[in-house]
């Protein structure tokens, strides 16, 4: 009734190709952006900002990175965590060498290092796919993890073996990173980067490169016959995907954790991002946000539930229930709706369009 494009005529190709062709979508996204940029930092508590919103946004960006590779190009990756680690350590080294450069630039630059590493480990994808590729990404995961531990140059020969975020200022005197940075500042930085990069991703995916990725995913031989070069398509997917993961990893350390060891980039985290991508919906940007929200926020709610009902369950049990729920949800989604939450959202929108007369 309200959500309907009736009467919205497009008179130019430009209007026809806009990201949100329907007026209601544009209003909706404007409202969401307004809430995200103005309301949440103004009224959200520190806990809400730094423990829910910041990780959620960072995970969403990492999931977008994985989705570019797995969802859009069809190359299964189990090494997301390691690629994020490359970004984080690269950013740490960069900011050690150039302490005066704005940290945001460094975070974005570190993505290039991660992209380069991603391309190296993406090379086998030119000959193999499926599980076989999963093994090469596992090799990346374990090899890079080992590098993060053994090459002490990466963490400046720190005794603890961890990288600790130094205090960094930018835009005048605002503290952007380090212990003194306020959650609101960090939140706004993360939000801006995520929004910008999501916008870029959506345009890459709609464009020539993105369409060649999807052709490779749907049928590589047909794509090759139609003039898509697998070499360029696959390696560019690896590069862009790792770039996104690297930036997410750098942000994770610099704007959320404050200090990080290898454990933040281990194989379990790689799986977690894969779950976010699956539950959110493979091959969907909105889905990446939904999946990240689901996997990150659901456990927080589950942890809070027993308290609100006054039931006394110890924390370990809740963790176990969490694991079971996540595993169960994965199987459920794969069986019932392999396209994830994003597809459910799409169905809901279709229903809304025709409501209340579904057959007219």
């Amino acid at each position: 009734m309200f959500y309907r494009e009736v009467g919205q005529f497009k008179t130019s190709y430009k209007a026809d190709q806009s990201i949100f062709p329907i007026l209601q979508d544009r209003i909706g996204i404007a409202v969401i952006l307004f809430v995200a940029f103005a309301i949440i930092p103004a009224f959200g508590s520190d806990f809400f900002l730094s423990s829910i919103m910041i990780p959620f946004l960072i995970f969403a960006l990492a999931t977008i990175g994985l989705n570019i590779l797995t969802g859009y190009t069809g190359q299964l990756s189990l090494g997301t965590g390691a690629f994020m680690g490359v970004g984080a350590y690269a950013c740490y080294k960069l900011t050690t060498f150039f302490p005066d450069v704005n940290i945001i630039i460094m975070v974005l630059l570190s993505g290039f290092f991660s992209a380069a590493v991603g391309m190296i480990f993406g090379l086998p994808s030119l000959r193999i796919k499926g599980f076989y590729l999963a093994v090469t990404t596992l090799a990346a995961q374990f090899f890079l993890e080992w590098c993060f531990i053994r090459i002490s140059w990466l963490y400046n020969y720190n005794n603890s073996g961890a990288i600790e975020v130094p205090r960094r200022e930018g835009f005048g005197d605002i503290v952007l990173a380090g212990a003194a940075a306020t959650p609101a500042t960090r939140y706004l930085v993360v939000l801006s980067i995520v929004v910008l990069m999501t916008w870029i991703a959506s345009n890459i995916i709609r464009g020539r490169i993105g369409r060649s990725w999807m052709m490779i995913r749907d049928m590589d031989i047909a794509a090759e016959l139609m003039g898509v070069r697998p070499l360029y398509a696959k390696l560019s997917a690896f590069a862009v995907s790792s770039f996104y993961c690297g930036v997410a990893g750098a942000m994770m350390v610099f704007f959320w954790l404050g200090a990080a060891e290898v454990e933040s980039f281990d194989i379990n985290h790689s799986f977690l991002y894969l779950f976010m991508a699956i539950i959110g919906g493979l091959g969907s940007l909105v889905g990446s946000f939904m999946g990240a929200a689901f996997i990150w926020i659901l456990p927080i709610i589950i942890r809070a539930l027993p308290e609100t009902f006054g039931i006394d369950i110890n924390a370990a049990t809740v963790e176990h229930i969490n694991f079971m729920l996540i595993g169960g949800m994965i199987i459920f989604f794969l069986i019932v709706e392999p396209h994830g939450l994003a597809r459910l959202w799409q169905i809901a929108k279709e229903k809304l369009r025709t409501w209340p007369f579904p057959y007219t």
């Binding site: 086998p124 499926g130 093994v135 596992l138 090799a139 176990h320 229930i321 694991f323 595993g327 069986i335």
Partner: protein, 318 residues
């Protein structure tokens, strides 16, 4: 030059100087290799019969071992606990087939693979909430497994061979022979191979896919139990085993996804290679190379021989 010397000459000099130590290293590599082979065997069984790459094999190993120890701690005698665990694995197989596989027939392989990752998480949660997360001791003596060790003195040195390791190797040999006979000589084995060849053709000659899948998952469960007992006897039973189980992937890449002998040989190559490399070359890179050595070998294999040593050459090439 120094580096070249360290890489190409020094390790061999060390091997020559202490042949008894080399034998000890080779033996431990052999034992490690058999255990990798056992895990890989579970993967191969399921992959052969259903084309599903069962990521959950690792957690099945942990789950089986935990069930065994848990039941024993409840007061059951060891043999009864063993039988009961086999029963639990059978239930698990039927459950997986009913709830997961049956619903996902005809889906792309990658979807099934991800479903088994989901299953892994589910089993981790279930196992931890029933048995608790802390490491447990495997009931080695109660199951009648030998302990103690024998020393040999070849080349005037000393080599210690644990009886438990011998038992592990014997058990692996028995399992593999048993499975080979089962696959090649029995009616069900033939049906399994038919299903592996072509699901539709197998269905059309009256083989029940559902039944076959349950049987295969049960067989994989038994292999998991054996692996769990042996591995649990060497170290404690804990969820960390699940990461070790991931090493079965490179083993399979080397051996080929569909070959039982391949799983064995691949496991041995990884076992030997890992130990030798860690001990003689590891110091050049800093220790801990065991963690990724297997995967890098697999990467090299993938580049030059993607179907593995014994795999069928039907691998999808691009």
């Amino acid at each position: 030059m120094d580096i070249l010397y360290n890489i190409f000459i020094d390790p061999f000099v060390q091997m020559g100087n202490a042949p008894d130590f080399l034998l000890q290293v080779l033996w431990s590599g052999f034992v490690g290799g058999t255990l990798y082979s056992l895990i890989a065997l579970g993967f191969v069984l399921i992959f052969k019969a259903s084309g599903v790459f069962n990521f959950a094999q690792g957690i099945m190993v942990v789950f089986a071992a935990l069930t065994l120890v848990g039941l024993y701690n409840l007061g059951l005698p060891a043999w009864l606990a063993l039988i009961a665990t086999i029963g639990v694995m059978a239930l698990l197989a039927i459950g997986v087939e009913r709830v997961v596989l049956r619903k996902l027939v005809n889906q792309p392989d990658i979807i099934l693979f991800m479903a088994t990752i989901g299953l892994t998480y589910f089993l981790i949660g279930l196992g931890e909430s029933i048995f608790g997360g802390e490491p447990k001791k495997m009931i080695t003596e109660e199951l009648g497994l030998p302990s103690g060790s024998t020393s040999f003195e070849p080349f005037g040195g000393l080599v210690i061979i644990e009886h438990l390791d011998v038992a592990a190797v014997v058990m692996a040999i028995v399992l593999v022979t048993g499975l080979a006979i089962f696959f090649n000589k029995t009616r069900i084995g033939r049906a399994l191979r038919a299903v592996a060849d072509d699901h539709q053709a197998a269905l059309s000659v009256g083989i029940s896919l559902n039944q076959i899948w349950a049987i295969v998952w049960f067989a994989a469960g038994i292999v998991a139990l054996a692996t769990g007992i042996m591995w649990g006897a060497k170290s404690d039973v804990s969820f960390a085993l699940q990461i070790v189980a991931l090493k079965a992937l490179p083993v399979l890449i080397i051996g080929g996804f569909t070959s039982i002998p391949g799983a064995i040989i691949g496991g041995l190559i990884i076992g030997f290679g890992e130990k030798l490399f860690e001990i003689y070359w590891g110091s050049l890179l800093g220790s801990g190379v065991e963690g990724w050595f297997a995967y890098v070998i697999a990467l090299i294999f993938l580049l030059f021989r993607p179907q593995g040593l014994f795999g069928e050459k039907i691998i999808e090439r691009i």
